[in-house]
Symmetry: none
Subunit: 207 residues, 4 copies
DNA sequence: CATGAATGAGAATTCATTCAT
DNA sequence: AATGAATGAATTCTCATTCAT
């Protein structure tokens, strides 16, 4: 039941996940072409051939890994965002901003961002999937809250769509900068940055 | 003057720009590992061996290409930003926002962004160079204008550093989205998007 | 009775004929190197590991399959040739020609021919076995009949050995052509071809 | 000009031929699946990668090799058959029988026969090419001579098509047997066998 | 006995790098 | 300087064989 067994025949249905996990790390670090199947196998503690039991080739492994990563990112997002319930729009936005901040700084999402930037040009369907499910979906959440806030007079009259785009642009950029903190010395702590963003953004919505 | 006056083998201006250009396209599209010297040579209309007359190996070519691209991006930026002269801070910001919008949507910068995301993790010096010269420098420009605006009472009391970060986060994210317009159907025209950003951002600075 | 009474691991009749059968099909189609154990297992409706319960390795399976195929071909031949009894030599030859025609066009024999051509170079003992048991034996049958025919004055004075070789050369070649009929459009029906061969051959023996 | 140069850059246009030649030997011996590119390269005195400069993959190399072999076999046939001119049909047939006997026992043709038997099932176009160009064409030559012989009353009234088939069946089978002489001890010398065939065959055509 | 997931050696293929011309 | 054919090390992929269940 636990994780310590002999080499052959471990939890059998765990194999694909194990490999996808290793693939996530290697591809996320070095990209599709740069990652070596050998390293993925090593990291997954699996023989090279085993990978081919579950995925027909490197590209397919890459695709499935990206897909799985997106899906599991959505699940994580769900978790980060649990309980936004019935309060003022501002409070909701603060909660959302906080939840997203946690979510976006996740290794999962950071790696995705990197892959999306460079490799997903060659996989339009995955790019679309990411754009729809991660970006657009997140944005819908925000624009919903903002629309309510505008309705209730909490916020000034903005186009919720546009405002939501502003929100996600700020959050996403900052998350990648904070992930590479060593190159951006002027950045404060992650909490500080979150405060900066919230303060700035909410000000822009005040009537 | 001698053969070894700089780390590079020859004065950069003598070195076939075609090669760097071709390298820029191929690397920018497929990354360091994914690009093939063969394709670079073909695109540069040069024999494969010729590349080795100017660059000791693939990685060096990549590095120099990134370096050159950053440098020439800065030059382009300069051009996009010419004549910000003595007006109100808001007018300056509008001009800057416009200039940057042109600059960021440039193929040059878009490719850089892609490479920065995935490949530059392996080249900290280049990453730092990019962070300092492109991002931080741009931000300094913005923060300078904002500081003046705050001083002059045009803008509310914000930390110019922070506000500048907000500015660049919004501009950079939107530029990559617009570059991949096919995946983000809800985006308006580039001009529309620029207006949205300016309107939103300036509102957030109003006293 | 014990585990090692013959070179093979178990008495042949107990060993799953399905495996040999499947092996026959796959090897016969793609040769020793080209056939995949995986496909053989699938065709035999047996797990891959099961094959190794009965045969130490791929090559041994191939050898035993060829051996078994030759043996069972001989049995089939016996059947095709039953009852050549006491008639004129010509009648006997006609009967034999007919029986062989049936026998040679058998999938069993056709596959054997294919394997003999390419793969049996590496297995001299099998080749010899085939040459002796199938070819030479068949020829002996023919030469016996011819010798009798010559003795009885039915046929002209030919060397029965040589005439028998002519007989088998004609029959064997035509059988492989008919088996690949799609490439030899000028061929008549199998019956027609048999008639052609008999007529031609018997004419050549007439005094 | 001669064949002794340094490893790199030998007669450049000879490369493909060199490789095809090596491929012919390896494939002819072990078949498509059994041959190793490594061995082909070694035999061609070329690096493994060089093969891929001229052929996209193993299968393509195989196909081109078979095609080239068939073509060059036809040329050899031409040579073996030069000068069949204006004599009696019987004399022509004797000459042809002799020429073919030389041609068929050629390593080139023997290897082809082996490949045709087993591997060409997967390459119907090559099989057809072989059937048309080698077999049918040879047969046409024979049937032409026979038709003339029948017309002139030299031969009995046979269907030239059928008689030609008989001719080639006898010649082809005997050539493969003689090529594997070690397994067919009763065979006389090649010359003896040719005499046997001619004598037998011509008898069958006598009026 | 039977299974089939797992293995890893070996074969095919790619591509950065070299070098004779 | 420039070329591009040739190289071979590195990588992907295949498949005979093993072994825990």
């Amino acid at each position: 039941m636990t994780l310590l067994d002999t080499p052959r025949r471990r939890a059998p249905e765990a194999r694909p996940t194990q490999i996808l996990d290793a693939a996530f790390h290697e591809f996320g670090e070095r990209g599709l072409a740069g990652a070596r199947l050998d390293d993925i196998a090593k990291r997954a503690q699996v023989a090279k051939g085993t990978i081919y039991l579950y995925f027909p080739n490197k590209e397919a492994l890459f695709r499935e890994m990206v897909h799985a990563t997106i899906v599991s990112a959505l699940v994580e997002e769900e978790a980060s965002l649990a309980g936004l319930a019935s309060e003022t729009a501002e409070a909701q936005l603060r909660r959302l901003g906080q939840g997203w901040w946690t979510f976006l700084r996740t290794e999962r999402v950071q790696a995705l961002q990197r892959l999306v930037a460079l490799e997903l040009g060659q996989f339009p369907d995955l790019m679309q999937f990411y754009a729809d499910e991660v970006i657009a979906r997140g944005r819908r959440l925000v624009s919903g809250i903002i629309a309510r806030g505008v309705e209730r007079g909490e916020f000034r009259e903005v186009d919720p769509q546009i405002a939501a785009r502003m929100f996600s642009s700020i959050w996403m950029s900052h998350s990648t900068w904070c992930a590479r903190r060593e190159f951006f010395k002027t950045l404060g702590s992650d909490e500080q940055v979150l405060d900066d963003m919230l303060e700035f953004y909410l000000y822009a919505l005040r009537p």
